[in-house]
């Protein structure tokens, strides 16, 4: 059994932000993550959008936290070394009804504190991004794009560097409240964690975990969204995220967004699902995206497809009305020592740190916390060869010859970067883990050149056997053994 002050269930962007903020105090913190890495589900499967906050109901946590998270993100990105661009955003319209709704959202934005939105005509749109669809648009300059993998990883690494402990492949399956109001958590593999505080930040499973912790009654509707990833050649045309006017239900349909690395994401659609972790992409879904994507992005063409993916959003709904509810961030009085987060979906990425600070406050209201004088908010990422100037590149190779060996041809990722990724602070050793940390295999050949080099490096650097190399953790083994001899003996 391991003892901690705080056990966080779920190491996505929210759990990792909470862990990082808690490390500002003298606390023993454990993050229990059921997957082999930290951004396997919703945190890593989204548009990577830093929202401005105009969409959400005034007074809601979504509105408050989004505005707060948006404002501070330049500092956060710098502190945590997260690729980020404040691109602004176009929300485009075609019809008079669209225009009405857009005007409504400019007002709503103002109430929420998003003050610089303006309605612009096609001429202004062309100046901003001629590849955007639509006849007019709201221009919102404060929106931005970020790398959701690196953000989550950065928060987790910063937490670890400041003393938090991450337990990967650790699925909590049972809970027990002890007589002294401490909590026992049992995992699938039989480990036991005892903690004074338990925080539920389990995303897709937040309603189930909430119920397990003694707070029943929440209803989550899982909504799957499918995406296309387009080649950087298409990215050359995309300057700014282009969203359609919100639906009457206040959600966004398919949008087209440049990524921080220069690709374009087209998606998502919305499909209600039972199994939130089934990320299969359907033919109908892709056909639909192809059509709706064209309306947002004029260069949505088959020749630019490099990949599809899907994610799921855990939407908290009112079972009576079916209406989507605000985030739940609570510390119920009748379940002492539990902080419960339910229905954290979009704009969760933007809200991660404001939510984390709210959680810290809820905890601080109950016990006095001592500052951690050693806390260092700065986290350094892997130095990327591709981003450097000629002189810097030459110097990098001189200092570390591994920077002179290109492993991923499409994205110009070097052996030095892969090696750094393999020795990451979280101890992640999967092929996808390397991909999310370095971008290797995210280019147009999709690993055709680098995957075999990455799997060889996993064996070489981490001493793994052939059959221990996995794509996404246990059960996703890449190989069945050696061709010659190796396995038979």
């Amino acid at each position: 059994m391991r003892d901690f002050d705080v056990a966080i269930i779920g190491g996505g962007v929210i759990g990792s932000a909470i862990a990082r903020e808690l490390m500002r105090y003298q606390l023993n913190v454990a993050v229990l993550e059921k997957e082999s890495d930290v951004c396997v589900h919703t945190s890593g499967r989204n548009t990577g959008m830093l929202h401005a906050g105009f969409l959400y109901k005034p007074g809601s946590l979504k509105a408050k936290f989004a505005v707060e998270g948006n404002k501070e993100f330049d500092t956060v990105a710098k502190e945590l070394d997260v690729p980020f661009k404040r691109t602004g955003k176009l929300i485009v319209g075609f019809t008079p009804e669209d225009r009405e709704r857009l005007e409504y959202f400019i007002q709503r934005g103002k109430i929420n504190g998003v003050i610089d939105m303006e309605l612009i005509d096609r001429k202004r749109m062309d100046e901003i991004d001629s590849s955007a669809g639509g006849n007019f648009a709201v221009y919102c300059p404060s929106s931005g794009i970020l790398d959701p993998f690196i953000y989550t990883i950065a928060l987790a690494e910063n937490a670890v560097n400041n003393g938090a402990e991450y337990f990967l492949n650790t699925e909590v399956i049972a809970y027990e409240r002890l007589a002294d109001d401490q909590h026992l958590l049992r995992t699938k593999t039989g480990e036991i964690f005892r903690a004074r505080w338990v925080i539920n930040s389990s995303g897709l499973r937040s309603a189930q975990i909430s119920e397990m912790l003694g707070i029943p009654g929440y209803v989550i509707q899982l909504v799957k969204g499918e995406y296309f990833v387009l080649d950087k050649k298409a990215g050359e045309f995309a300057q700014i995220p282009v969203y359609p006017a919100p639906t009457p239900q206040f959600t966004f349909d398919t949008h087209a967004t440049p990524t921080v690395d220069g690709n374009v994401l087209v998606g998502p659609n919305s499909i209600n699902v039972e199994d939130g972790e089934d990320y299969s992409v359907s033919q109908e879904g892709m056909d639909g995206l192809q059509e709706s994507g064209k309306k947002m992005f004029k260069h949505m063409k088959r020749e630019y497809y490099i990949r599809t993916f899907a994610g799921a959003r855990p939407k908290l709904i009112d079972p009576e009305t079916g209406q989507v509810q605000d985030f739940v961030v609570q510390r119920p009085e009748n379940t002492p020592g539990i902080i419960n987060l339910v229905g954290i979906e979009s704009p969760g990425l933007t809200c991660a740190l404001p939510i984390a600070r709210r959680v810290v406050k809820l905890l601080k209201d109950k016990e006095e916390l001592t500052r951690n004088p050693a806390f260092n908010p700065v986290r350094k990422g892997i130095v990327r060869f591709h981003d450097k100037t000629t002189q810097e590149k030459a110097r990098l190779i001189q200092k570390n010859p591994d920077y002179g060996e290109i492993v991923c041809r499409c994205e110009t990722i070097t052996r030095a970067e892969i090696v750094q990724a393999l020795h990451n602070p979280l101890g992640v050793s999967t092929v996808n883990g390397v991909k999310m940390r370095t971008r290797a295999s995210m280019g147009r050949c999709q690993g055709g050149y680098c995957e075999m080099r990455i799997t060889a490096l996993i064996r070489e650097e981490l001493g793994k056997e052939i059959d221990e190399v996995t794509l996404t953790g246990c059960g996703s083994e890449m190989f069945t053994g050696a061709v010659k001899g190796g396995m038979e003996e």
Partner: protein, 410 residues
């Protein structure tokens, strides 16, 4: 660093080009190769059947490559291995990186693009389904099995009947895997007939034409695929789906010339070949930048890659000696039943070779090359299939200075 001729890629095209340049009297040659050894993709093509045209002998890929490599060594041609070119400019400045030599900038008088090709991926096809481990392109699987001693799976389904897929069906079977079938969306095979015979039929591996994979199953490792029959417009027919349990899906769904560097140099590409527009000297639209082999258009046989690269090198040598080449005015047009033709522009002052592929399998046909309605070349063929590259050798002086050259198959 300054160099007369820089060759990007030390595969079959690059090696053959280097040797011919040297024979033509060019001394200052540099081959840049990203792998630890020369030879390119041939290093992993361990089956035999290479060299029948060039050496009148059936060799394995590594043997075929070694013949060139040995000659490169004897000729004393300079090469750098583990050296990746990351940029080429219109002014023919090449940027390369290497752990041994650091950050290199080389100014070349002539650049020979011989980077070969890469494989089309699942993402480009947008195959629906999940994203489990166990989905490999044929070339990646070939590299794992033949170079790394790593076995990719046990129960195999292959999508696409390209030659590498067929070769891999046999390789996997010989190494103990069970290949359950090859599925091809087209109504005819994409690979060569002899590979259908000796790689599939010999091992009782069924080939399902007009079929494709419509779904991929399994969250962690592949559990199976759903296949369906396709109609004439290549769309899956509802109600014909069936599930096939397997742990590995191999994709052999096409090759794409690797032209990222060409694009950075301002080289214009033909949307049909996805390689450069070239004239009969294999010169691209950028003066002094030439292309041959699979980077120009995907070949069926390595022998033709070598031969084409040699032809290119001879022209590069005269370019380096005379300083310029006359640009052709005559456009070569892919006419009826022709998928694409190389080169796209000619002047006809010297002998040249047209390379083409037909759009669909045909029997008892004539390859007709005509200018202004006048036939300048004609060749009868008993059969013509898209899997095979067809060549037509046109003699010097056959062309008028004006008027498109139309290539048709009738």
């Amino acid at each position: 660093m300054i160099c007369q001729a820089v060759i990007i890629g030390g595969g079959p095209a690059g090696l053959a080009a280097a040797l011919r340049l040297k024979e033509c009297g060019i001394e200052d040659i540099l081959i840049l190769e990203r792998e630890p050894t020369l030879g390119g993709i041939l290093r992993q093509c361990i089956h035999d059947g290479f060299g029948l045209v060039r050496f009148k002998k059936s060799l394995s890929g590594p043997e075929y490559a070694q013949r060139f490599i040995d000659e490169i060594e004897v000729a004393g041609i300079k090469y750098l291995t583990e050296c990746t070119v990351i940029d080429v400019t219109e002014d023919k400045i090449i940027t390369a990186v290497s752990k041994h030599h650091g950050y290199l900038e080389i100014k070349a008088k002539a650049v020979l693009l011989t980077m070969g090709c890469r494989e089309r991926t699942r993402g480009a096809l947008a195959i629906p389904g999940t994203r489990p481990a166990g989905v490999y392109t044929a070339g990646v699987a070939q590299s794992y099995i033949n170079l790394q001693d790593v076995m990719v799976g046990k129960e195999i389904v292959i999508l696409g009947s390209g030659d590498i897929g067929l070769i891999m069906a046999r390789r996997l079977t010989l190494e103990g895997a069970h290949v359950k079938g090859v599925y091809e969306i087209l109504p005819y095979p994409s690979g060569l007939p002899r590979n259908i015979e000796q790689c599939l039929n010999d091992y009782d591996i069924p080939l399902h034409l007009s079929h494709t994979v419509v779904d991929i199953h399994g969250q962690k490792r592949l559990k199976g695929v759903t296949v369906a029959r396709c109609d004439e417009s290549l769309r899956p027919i509802e109600g014909t789906e069936s599930f096939i349990a397997c742990d590995t899906l191999i994709l052999s769904v096409g090759l794409i010339p690797e032209n990222e560097l060409s694009l950075s140099a301002g080289v214009k590409l033909d949307s049909r070949t996805r390689g450069a527009f070239v004239d009969e000297y294999y010169q691209t639209n950028v003066e002094g930048i030439f292309a041959a082999g699979n980077v120009l258009h995907v070949h069926d046989l390595v022998d033709f890659v070598s031969l084409e690269a040699e032809e290119m090198a001879a022209h590069v040598a005269s370019y380096l000696k005379s300083g310029s080449t006359s640009l052709g005015n005559v456009s070569v047009v892919a006419g009826q039943n022709v998928g694409h033709v190389i080169p796209q522009k000619v002047c006809g002052d010297s002998d040249f070779t047209l390379s083409l592929r037909v759009r669909q399998p045909m029997k008892n046909v004539s390859i007709v090359v005509a200018q202004n309605g006048q036939v300048v070349f004609q060749k009868k063929m008993r059969k013509a299939i898209p899997a095979e590259m067809i060549q037509a050798k046109i003699k010097a002086g056959k062309l008028k200075p004006e008027g498109d050259l139309e290539v048709t198959v009738q």
